[in-house]
Structures are given as C-alpha cells and as structure tokens.
C-alpha cells in the first residue's frame, strides 16, 4: 500500500483563500458582454385558469428588450415526469407558477416591467391537504397527464414500497407493539447564495449555461431537450458551474427559471441572467417536502425487533421534481436501520396546489428516521428496556444483508452507540433525577439518542451511477484534474486534491482542479447521495494508478539499469539491484518524455462505476450503494416547564466514516449537518396558508445562528476501513442532520415526559403537551 502522506490529516481547503478574499466568482458576480437581466412574473392564485395576459405596457417601458409568455414561446416541458411547463399556458396550479418573463437592460427596469404585466385569472377550486387531495371528488391538480391522457386522481404515478415477511403474523407474535403518527414540515434549504443562472447562445444556436447546479450533465441533457422543443434540434448546451454558494439539494433538478433564461436569451439574442432575491428564493424555489408517517414497530420479550410497518404520505405540491422520489431513500432506514426481519413500506405521493417540493440533504431519510427513532423510544418504554440497550441489542452487523438486499460490508454502529452513550454519560444521566437543576426547579434535564443509516458508497437511483475523471500531467508536474462533480461548499475539492496527491505521489499544491464544465469534464451523474468524495477519490485512485504505471514504464525505458520505482511528492526514486538508488524530479522526467522524437504527454481518464445496483422500486429491493454509513447522535437538553423552551446543553455525534480523508472538512460537514438538524428539530418551517407562503425571508424563517449553536459538540469518527471506499472512506455529506431531530425529541421526552410527534418542536407544542400531561 502506498504511504499516506496527506489523507487522514487536518488540511486547509484549497478553495478557501479565494473565498475569504472575496475572489471566488458566484453566479451573482458574473457579467457577460451585452447581458440582460431577466425577471419572472409569478401566479397570484393557487389554482386558476389564465384568461388573458397583457404585456403591452411592459413592452413599452424603455430598457425592456423582450417580454415572453407561454403564448409567444415554444412549449418547454420541465421535470422528470414532464408535468410542468417553463411558462404556463392556460392554467396555474400554485402561487409560484411562472406566467411571463421580461429581459431588460438592468434589474430595476426588469422588476418594473414585470409589475406592468396584467394577467386576468378565473380562480378554480384548489386543494392544499394531501389527505383531502386523495378524497373522492377532490379538485384535480392535473386533469390530463403530460401525454394527454385524462387523470382521475391526484396520486402521482410513482410506485414505491417494500414487503418482507408477514407483517400481521409478526405483529401477533410480538410481545410489545407501539404505533404512532409523526410528521415533518416543509423547510427551506436556505443556501446563502440564492438561485440563478446565465444563458447565452452563440451564433450557431449552441447554448452556454452558467448554472447553480449539482447535476451538470443531467442538466445538459435537460437543456438539450429544451433546445429540441425550441426548434433547435442537434444544438448543444454546455453547462459551466461557478462557485455555488450552497446546494443542499436545490441543484438536483433543472428549474423553470433556467428554461425561462434560455427562452429570454433566445428571444433577445443576448446573454440573460436570472437571479432570485431572498424573497423569491423562499417563495418560488422548491423546498424540502413534508411527510406524514404512520409507523408500527414491535419487539419480542427480550427487546429484539420483530417487525416495522411504515406508511408515508408526501405532499408533493403541484409538479414533480426528483424530490418526489424521496421514498427511494426512505427505503434504506425503513428496511435497514437496526436488524429488523419483517418490514412493510408503502408510500403515497400526492399532488396539491401547494408549492412543489424538491430534494434536500438527507432526501427522505430525516423524515422517516424521525418516525423510526422517536417510535423506538416508545417501544423501549413499552418493553421496559433502556432505549440505549434496545438499540445496542438490534444493532446492524458487518457482512450481513438487510431485507432491502443492502449488503452491509462494514458497520461501526455498535461503536457509534457505545461512544455516544459513554460521552453523554448515558447511564448516569438516565439514572439521575431530571430536576437536577436545583436553583431552577421549573427546568428539567434529559438525554436522548438516535441513529442513522445512509448510503455511503454512492446511491444508484439513475441508469448510470458513474463518475469520470481526467488527470492531465503538464511539463511542470502539475496535475490538472477534470471532474464533473460539483464543489458546493462541502469540501469535494479538498478530499479530491489530497487523494490525487497521495494516490499519484505529488504534493497537494500541484493538484489543480478545473472548473466543472460539461465541455471539458467527463460525465458524472451528479453530486448527491453523499457521493462526491467517495466517487471522485475512487476515480482519482484508479486514474493515478494508470498514470504511475505509465511513468514507471518510461523510467524503465530511459533508465534501464533501474529495477524498482517509487514516486512520492513528485520525486521519483529509481532503485538499482547493484548500487545506490537515484532520485529524479517528476517534472524533469515529464519534459524528457515530452520533448523528444515520438514524444508523449501523460493524461489518463477513468470512468468509475461503483459496485451497486439500481433497486426494483416496486419491491424495494436492491443493493443501491457500495457501502453504508452509520452513526448515532446523543443530546442533553434542558426544558423549561413554564415556557416550553428547549435548551440544547450538549451533543455527541459518532459516525462510522470508514476512514477520515481530511479531518477538517469532515468535521465541517458534520457540524454543519448538525446545525441544519437543530434547525429542523427546533425552529424551521415554511408556513403556508391556502398555498401562499407566509414567511418568505429570514425575518420570519429562522435558521440557527452562532448564538443558538453555542452548545458543545463532541465528534467521534469510527474508522471501519471499507474495502470499496477510497482509502477506506464512506460518504458523509448528509448523515450529520439525519438523526438530530429524534435525538432531541427523545431527550425532551426523557426530561419532561412528553412526546412531540410533529416537527419543529416549538415551545408552544411543548407547553400544549405539558398541559395534556398534567
């Protein structure tokens, strides 16, 4: 094995100097020659027929270059179910539906012009509750499907489920059974950099898109299809990804605003930029969707889990994004968090006239882990077993296969549970009087924990789950890396540069990662499913191995006396059987290879496809990831029984990461995930009334600040060294937020004996529950 000089240590990120100097270029900062500013006119009704759109006043405003509507542009369909239109034609189905757009020479004129567009609507009956949407006679959000066939239900045509064993039989044979309903709210990803893009056509009809995306190549496919719909068949779109300003799932779909920028650019002949302001981001960009989960779990007399039965209802909103497919990831914890032999899962995804939802970090996992782990504490209580012991008893084990067919290669969940229990002082805290706080008798303390399983070796949800990489060595031993995944802040470029440095044998400073660009980088399915570092580093190792083989082949040819070779920190060591070894700079060798007759330059490409399977979604079976990440979080809280306030006193987070790649960025990922988990647990909710978003800004939508996150957090990294992981590492992008909310809720229950079942756990809900308790 190659020595690891860089992997595993604490390294500064390669992108941080530019970012702290204000030099990183985000979409918000980019200007193209002759660029116009696009602005969108959104619907003023949750469900209505568009009677007429009068754009004449807007068109007459000086500085306006063009005004487009569904009537004067080609029809461009959006979404993987093709159920959305970039510009709506005859009907709006949510408050944020795009009905017209303007391109003008400056943003103020564009905004003024949008206000001059007059739209006449005929309101239609609307439905805002997923249960009501399923009732007979409910207004149909879509009366015909994208293929023109009549719809008779608001249920989306997506079938996800699972059934292993006989639930009724398992339930009958269980010593203890508990049942509960749990719900999670709509929340905003709240990237600090809002959504935006620039679209520009060249004179051959090819499109360049600077896009805030996590899926440049799927976006290219989507945009190419749009070009076809626009009467530009055979033309190409090139997607370039500037500094992102946060992703958290918002970049997993292509969006109406992007197609509108394309239509405006095509209609005006200019580059067009569309950037959302914060209010637009909250009101018009798809948030994380809500879920209502009904769960039943049982165990035998000793506490061994006997079955888990889960039904999920998702309020999808008016159109389908990839976020509609959350059940593909919900399957993982439902079938495979802890050892449970009998499992049933049913998911219903329902159209309503609410804002349509999309992906967010965790992708369905936090929604159902909230139910599983809260309900598991109830089961422990029913069975008279300590919740920690119940989890320990049912812990996943390495080299096992779960009901979904997940092949658990390595598993450090037992170590995560133990570390959390120990660092939290579980046994002592559980035994202690909850009113330990003598001078504040109305306050009670409690501890809680919850665990997670997540895909840790990519997650196959698309027909290819691969990632390509190109490593190009130049005359100075710089390694130019072309990788199609996206650095959105998570630290992909940090782990990738360390992996290349170690795998190839150069210094991290010699590794230069190029901008993600579909024109120069090989294909990648996208930066989702915690797959960035896992995929990029695995691909980098394979490509580095090929480069090393070619370097050493040239060494053999140029230095025939040498018998063995090594390359570390871009210095080649040539070993000879008789006599001393010789050292040679890699750059010198590369120039010697280049500048000669029949010279060569060393570039290698690898298309890495991980060993995982596309599951059968109807049966919910298939090993969707090459490995799985496990973890446990523990929380100590103090609950004020008079105000309902919850103070987090401290947290422990233990994760089986396989292997630490860069300790600093790993810690950053987990801390950041926990902050989002705390927001989900205690503060965040997009409030809606009849489809209208009531809190579209940070004034009324609170995300945690440095003041809320002031409690100590203990991080533990368990290293299980997974055979499929690069240097043994597993994906860690999403896990940080997955179990936080149930860990908090379980601690609240421990403190004051009330079970909150709907997030966020606000003081009002705690007080209401306390009133019922007393």
């Amino acid at each position: 094995m190659r020595p690891r000089r860089y992997i595993g240590e604490d390294h500064a990120r390669p992108d941080s100097p530019d970012k702290v100097a204000g030099k990183a270029v985000y979409i918000h900062d980019m200007v193209r020659p002759g660029m116009l500013y696009g602005k969108i006119k959104f619907s003023e009704h949750a469900h209505a027929r568009i009677v007429s759109i009068d754009t004449s006043k807007a068109e007459r405003l000086p500085g306006v270059k063009c005004v487009i509507t569904g009537a004067n542009t080609p029809q461009v369909r959006v979404g993987f179910l093709r159920d959305n239109l970039a510009l709506k034609r005859d009907r709006v189905r949510q408050f944020r539906d795009e009905v017209a757009a303007v391109a003008a020479i400056d943003p103020d004129i564009a905004a003024e012009a949008v206000d001059l567009i007059e739209v006449e609507y005929e309101p239609l009956p609307a439905v805002f509750d997923p249960v009501e949407a399923l009732a007979p006679g409910a207004p149909l959000v879509h009366e015909i499907d994208p293929r023109g066939r009549p719809c008779n239900t608001n249920r989306l045509p997506l079938d996800y489920g699972h059934c292993t064993g006989d639930i009724d039989e398992a339930r009958r044979r269980s010593a203890f059974v508990v049942e509960g309903d749990f719900s999670t709210p709509v929340v905003q990803q709240a990237c600090m950099g809002t959504a935006g893009c620039i679209a520009e056509f060249d004179m051959s009809g090819n499109l360049t898109m600077w896009a805030k995306t996590q899926i440049p190549f799927l976006a290219q496919r989507d945009f190419n299809r749009a070009l076809m719909e626009m009467g530009l068949p055979g033309n190409n779109s090139r997607v370039i990804v500037p500094a992102l300003g946060g992703g958290f799932g918002t970049g997993l779909d292509t969006h109406c605003y992007e197609y509108i920028a394309i239509l405006l650019a095509h209609a005006s002949g200019h580059a067009v930029k569309v950037v959302y302001d914060r209010e637009e981001e909250f009101a018009y960009l798809s948030p994380r969707q809500s879920a209502r989960t009904h769960i039943v779990q049982g165990c035998d007399r000793d506490g061994r889990l006997t079955f888990r039965d889960v039904r999920v209802l998702q309020d999808n909103g008016a159109y389908a994004s990839w976020g509609a497919t959350y059940p593909t990831v919900m399957l993982v914890p439902i079938t495979s968090l802890y050892t449970v032999p009998v499992v049933r899962f049913q998911a219903e995804i329902v159209y309503t006239n609410n804002t349509y939802c999309q992906a967010m970090r965790g992708y369905g996992n936090p929604e159902v882990t909230w139910a599983i782990e809260s309900n598991l504490d109830d089961l422990a209580e029913a069975a008279g077993i300590d919740p920690f012991e119940l989890r320990r008893l049912n812990c996943n084990r390495p080299d096992t296969t779960t009901p979904m067919g997940l092949k658990i290669s390595t598993c450090g969940l037992d170590q995560c549970l133990d570390a959390t229990g120990e660092k939290l002082g579980w046994a002592q805290r559980r035994a202690a009087d909850r009113r330990t706080n003598g001078d504040k008798p109305r306050k009670r303390r409690g501890v809680g924990m919850a665990s997670l399983i997540h895909v840790g070796g990519s997650g196959k949800i698309y027909k290819s789950d691969a990632s390509g990489i190109i490593l190009k060595l130049d005359d100075y031993a710089n390694v130019n890396v072309y990788y199609g995944g996206v650095e959105m802040g998570q630290g992909l470029h940090s782990s990738l540069s360390l992996a290349v440095a170690d795998a190839l044998g150069v210094t991290p400073a010699q590794v230069h990662i190029n901008e993600t660009d579909t024109g120069t980088c090989p294909w990648d399915v996208g930066t989702h499913a915690s797959r960035g570092a896992f995929m990029a580093c695995n691909a980098a190792i394979l490509a580095s191995d090929k480069l090393r083989a070619r370097i050493f082949q040239w060494c053999k040819q140029l230095y025939p006396e040498a018998t063995d070779f090594d390359l570390v920190d871009s210095v080649i060591t040539l070993g000879a059987a008789n006599g001393p070894s010789k050292q040679l700079e890699l750059a010198k060798l590369l120039r010697a290879i280049h500048f000669r007759d029949d010279g060569d330059m060393l570039t290698e490409t690898v298309f890495y496809d991980p060993p995982n399977e596309l599951p059968n979604w109807k049966t919910g079976i298939g090993n969707m990831s090459a490995t799985y990440t496990f973890g446990t979080q523990g929380v100590e809280v103090e609950v004020d029984e008079e105000t309902g306030d919850i103070e987090i006193l401290r947290m422990v987070s233990a994760i089986d990461v396989g292997r630490v790649l860069n300790r600093q960025t790993l810690e950053g990922q987990v801390y950041g995930g926990i902050a989002q988990g705390i927001g989900y647990a205690l503060y965040e909710e997009v409030k809606m009334h009849k489809g209208r978003i009531l809190n579209p800004g940070f004034t009324d939508y609170k995300i945690p600040t440095a003041a809320e996150m002031a409690f100590p957090i203990d991080l533990v990294f368990v290293e299980t060294d997974d055979a499929h992981g690069p240097f043994g590492a597993k994906g860690v992008g999403e896990p940080g937020l997955v179990p936080t909310a149930p860990a908090v809720a379980n601690a609240v229950y421990d403190a004051v004996g009330v079970r909150i079942t709907d997030l966020p756990i606000t003081p009002e809900k705690v007080l209401a529950a306390l009133a019922q308790r007393d």
Binding site: A12, M192, A706, A710
Partner: protein, 161 residues
C-alpha cells in the same frame, strides 16, 4: 436623475454617479466593481453584505448610498495586502475551515475584523454574540468561532513580534 458621490474605498478616493434610491451594496458591486461583498437577503437579516464604514460593521444592503459621502468604507477586497497576502483574520478562516461555500465568508470576516478591533481577546461567547447577525448555512459555526480565536492569537503574535 443621478447624484455624484465621493468617498474612500479601501484607502482610495473614489467617485460614482448613483441613483438616489441605491444602496451602498449596489454602489460597491455594480458601480465600483467590488463583487466580494455579497447580497444574501437584502433586508439586513443575514450579514453577508457586511462592510466597515468608518471602522464600524454595517449591512451594506440597508445603508443608503447617499449617506456614504465623505466616509471611509472597507470591504473584503481591502483586507488582503499586495502579493496575495491575506490579513490575519482571512488567514485564520482559510486555515481553520471557517469557510465552506464561501457566500457568507466576506461578511463573516468583516464582522470578525470589527470584533477583534474592539476586543482583541474575545471569549467564545463574545465571538458568538458578535457573529450572531451573520448567517451561515454550511459550517454550524464551530470552525468559524475557532477561526476567530485563531485570528485573535495571530494578531497577538503579530503585535508582539
């Protein structure tokens, strides 16, 4: 109808013709081509647009452009020294993981600069209080607080040497 405006930007006298309704952030980003200052919300809630005016941290998205006449503004572009030498606070954020997506970084660094100017040895609680007006969605703030602490140590050392 535009109004002439003169002020000091990162130590240099500058002039701009701006519409009266413009905000300081518009003048900085659009008229004077200093895009390092970011707009995260436009309503003073997120702190991404923090700059120093006469040494005090302000939200440039709430600051009327006309009010800047004759005053001194420091933006993120004004901290690094020639030759790509980051300031101690910037260096600390870069070294300690105080930045992830980077969109909040400019404002976060400016708030930290103000804090350390007033209080060279802040406690963690003081750091968190000073940065509570700067939202970050990536880091959970732990490494940001560590960065400010590291910067305080570095400023100390620089002054001693």
């Amino acid at each position: 109808m535009k109004v002439g405006l003169e002020f000091e930007l990162n130590g240099v006298r500058v002039a701009a013709m701006v519409a009266p309704h413009k905000r300081l952030i518009d003048v900085l980003r659009d008229d004077l081509h200093h895009p390092g200052t970011k707009e995260g919300c436009g309503e003073g809630e997120c702190g991404a647009c923090t700059v120093l005016v006469d040494g005090r941290a302000v939200n440039s998205c709430l600051f009327p452009a006309l009010e800047i006449e004759g005053r001194a503004v420091t933006t993120i572009e004004g901290l690094a020294r020639p030759g790509a030498r980051l300031s101690p606070v910037q260096r600390a954020f870069a070294a300690r993981g105080g930045v992830q997506c980077g969109f909040c970084a400019s404002g976060m660094v400016m708030s930290a600069v103000e804090l350390l100017g007033d209080n060279p040895r802040p406690t963690d609680a003081e750091i968190r209080h000073a940065l509570a007006g700067n939202l970050c969605r990536c880091t959970g703030y732990v490494q940001i607080v560590e960065s400010v602490r590291l910067a305080a140590d570095a400023v100390d050392e620089e002054q001693e040497s």
